[in-house]
């Protein structure tokens, strides 16, 4: 990346003076891996062994033979293909919009001077702290008023902007784009729009990608609100679909965790492809020093 900020650590690592990672260090990492990945693995184990896997002592730790039967049953209850597609559509729209609007507002808050800027940003940060549970009914009333119940608009439009995204982008732009860079451009005669388009956006592309990915993940895993506004199976998102697997007053664990597996596996795949960028992106956004 062209980020000025990124050059600092690279330079710092010039002369290695490290001891090799001890055996204990690797043991720690392996333990961490097991702890992190276990729930995901356990979904697969239960889904492939059947519901009573959870009530066996000792619990089975290896996958069983029933995985495809369970998945077929999942598809009998709810069409996961449609659900995954809906989730992807919502996630993509939300991610792109959040990055776009957050970068715009973030740039203004970080670099442009206008009256009330400081007050507004404090206000933005303040709203991050409000508990969201209480807003759910008034929000539904608005959505119903616009006849958006049981449409994907109901998920996408309220999520187009977040205070968090703006705050994040402001910090990124502030840290990664020195004023000199903008000054140089404006002396060359570039207008604000041009500066934004050809200087700001390329520099923050990496961090924007990470914000987009986080928005995508959050949207993917969102449950309470989609479950309220979506009514019919052709509109369900993945998490709502998982909830349709609850059987008779009680939980069929294999069916449920099989569905949860289906809802998580695409994310894991995505992760394999973009994990490296995500990891470097998280570290870009982190505090240095």
């Amino acid at each position: 990346m062209t980020s000025v900020a990124k050059q600092a650590p690279r330079k710092a690592n010039r002369r290695p003076k490290w001891q090799k990672v001890s055996f204990g260090g690797y043991v720690g990492l392996v333990l961490m891996m097991i702890v992190s990945a276990f729930p995901f693995y356990w979904m697969f184990v239960v889904a492939s062994n059947g519901s009573d896997a959870v009530s066996k002592i000792p619990p089975p730790l290896l996958p069983g033979p029933r995985f495809f039967t369970v998945i077929a049953n999942v598809y009998k209850v709810v069409d996961f293909n449609v659900a995954l597609l809906n989730t992807a559509i919502v996630g993509l729209c939300v991610a792109v919009a959040q990055v776009f609007f957050s970068a715009l507002a973030g740039f203004a808050f970080a670099k442009l001077d206008f009256k009330g800027r400081r007050g507004l940003i404090v206000f933005v940060i303040g709203t991050m702290m409000l508990p969201s549970q209480l807003g759910i009914i008034p929000l539904y009333m608005m959505i119903a008023n616009w006849h958006w119940v049981n449409t994907l608009y109901a998920l996408i439009v309220p999520a187009l902007v977040t205070a968090f995204g703006v705050f994040w982008m402001r910090q990124i732009i502030d840290a990664q784009i020195p004023n000199e860079m903008l000054e140089a451009a404006s002396i060359d005669g570039a207008g604000v729009l041009r500066v934004y388009w050809s200087i700001v956006l390329p520099v923050i592309a990496q961090s924007g990608f990470v914000l987009g990915l986080f928005s995508f993940l959050a949207s993917w895993n969102d449950f309470l609100w989609p479950n309220l506004v979506l009514q019919s199976p052709n509109m369900y998102t993945a998490q709502v679909a998982v909830n349709q697997l609850k059987a008779n007053y009680v939980v069929d664990y294999a069916l449920n965790l099989g569905g949860a597996f289906l809802a998580t596996a695409p994310l894991l795949l995505l992760f394999v492809f973009v994990g490296r960028r995500l990891v470097s992106g998280v570290m870009d956004g982190a505090v240095k020093g």
Binding site: A5, A8, P16, W18, Q19, K20, V21, G25, G28, L29, M32, S36, P39, F101, F109, K111, L112, D113, F114, M128, M129, L130, P131, L134, I136, I137, P138, A159, L160, V161, T162, G165, Q171, D174, A175, P178, N179, E183, I187, G191, V195, A218, N221, D222, F223, Q239, Y253, N256, A263, T264, G275, V279, V282, M283, D284, G285, A286, V287, K288, G289
Partner: protein
């Protein structure tokens, strides 16, 4: 909703800046009204409003309006399907005498404590290992750290319920190897808090480890070299070079963790299965109590009042945090 991100992602860059970044961005040294981009003065004001307009408009409609409505509700005896009576500050005065409310505050802070500090030690320790240049499979380890963040929340609830079972849960099974008698995580207060903290820690420790790692990578090697020339071993290097180097990051993780920690909701609900937070409210948190009062007991106005109190508490703590950070940053700078 989007607050999921806002409450929990400790990702945004905060107080500190990369050491290499040249000019301070805050117009402290600049005079008021001096545009950040010289030469575009005439445009800056207009453009600024234009740039934030989409965000502000959408945010007012979908973020602020519902919350404002709830604030209004706090001054009423409110039944969304029935009548509404204005009662002034009654909800708030009742709240101050409500034992469960105070208990929930205590629980929230206790859980916050148990979910913050052990996690921090764990994350910093992991980061210290991951930082090693001779570590094999760096990207793999760093990626694995984030797997808890993508695991379906509904599934995690089922799985953690099983892990913490009293008789047959895996946690007690493992504790049994060391001769520790079975613990009832749902019945006892402290074990309950620790179980909830464990769920939070599990979800975020890898994430925070990456943030600490980034911070550690920014510490110049020269510092370590001179330390080792002075005869400092790896512990002393860690203690006197690494820790001071990541001080600001520790503050940052604390602040974000506090905002998220005061809104803990899903974990205690998962553990107890009901909104009461255990038989004696021993792990009822503020947000859980809000939910319990508003949606189970039907006291909407009261729930809204709890919501306002949560906001006030977060603001106070953030204020304290901010002052502390300023102090630390001030003492730190050059």
């Amino acid at each position: 909703m989007s607050h999921v991100v806002a409450g929990n992602s400790p990702a945004a860059s905060e107080k500190g800046r990369p050491k290499g970044s040249p000019t301070p961005w805050r117009p402290k040294k600049q005079k008021k009204n001096k545009p950040a981009i010289p030469g575009l003065r005439s445009l800056n004001g207009k453009w600024g409003y234009l740039f934030i307009a989409p965000f502000v408009i959408m945010f007012l409609i979908f973020g602020l309006a519902p919350v404002t409505y709830s604030t209004y509700v706090a001054f009423f005896n409110w039944d969304p399907l029935g009548g509404q009576t204005f009662i002034g500050f009654d909800n708030f005065t009742y709240l101050l005498q409500d034992d469960v409310f105070w208990q929930s505050i205590g629980n929230t802070f206790d859980i916050w404590f148990w979910s913050t500090f052990p996690q921090m030690v764990l994350s910093i320790g992991l980061a210290a290992v991951l930082r090693n240049r001779f570590l094999k499979g760096k990207t793999f380890w760093r990626t694995v750290l984030l797997v808890p963040n993508i695991t379906s929340v509904l599934a995690v609830a089922i799985i953690f319920g099983q892990l913490f079972g009293r008789d047959y849960g895996m946690v007690n099974y493992v504790l049994g190897w060391f001769g520790i008698p079975h613990i009832d995580f749902v019945e006892q207060a402290l074990p309950g808090h620790i179980a909830i903290a464990a769920m939070i820690t599990w979800r975020w420790f890898g994430y925070n480890a990456l943030i600490f790692l980034a911070s550690m990578l920014a510490i110049p090697d020269e510092l370590y070299e001179s330390a080792s020339l002075d005869g400092a071993g790896s512990w002393k290097q860690f203690r006197y070079v690494t820790l001071p180097g990541i001080r600001n990051t520790i503050t940052f993780v604390l602040i974000v963790g506090t905002i998220g920690g005061l809104q803990v909701f899903a974990e205690p609900l998962t553990l107890g299965g009901t909104t009461t937070g255990g038989d004696s409210h021993q792990f009822s948190t503020l947000t859980l109590y809000l939910y319990d009062q508003a949606f189970v007991a039907g006291h909407w106005g009261y729930g809204a009042a709890i919501g306002i109190m949560i906001t006030i508490i977060v603001l106070i703590i953030s204020g304290i945090n901010f002052l502390l950070t300023r102090q630390i940053a001030g003492g730190d700078s050059e």
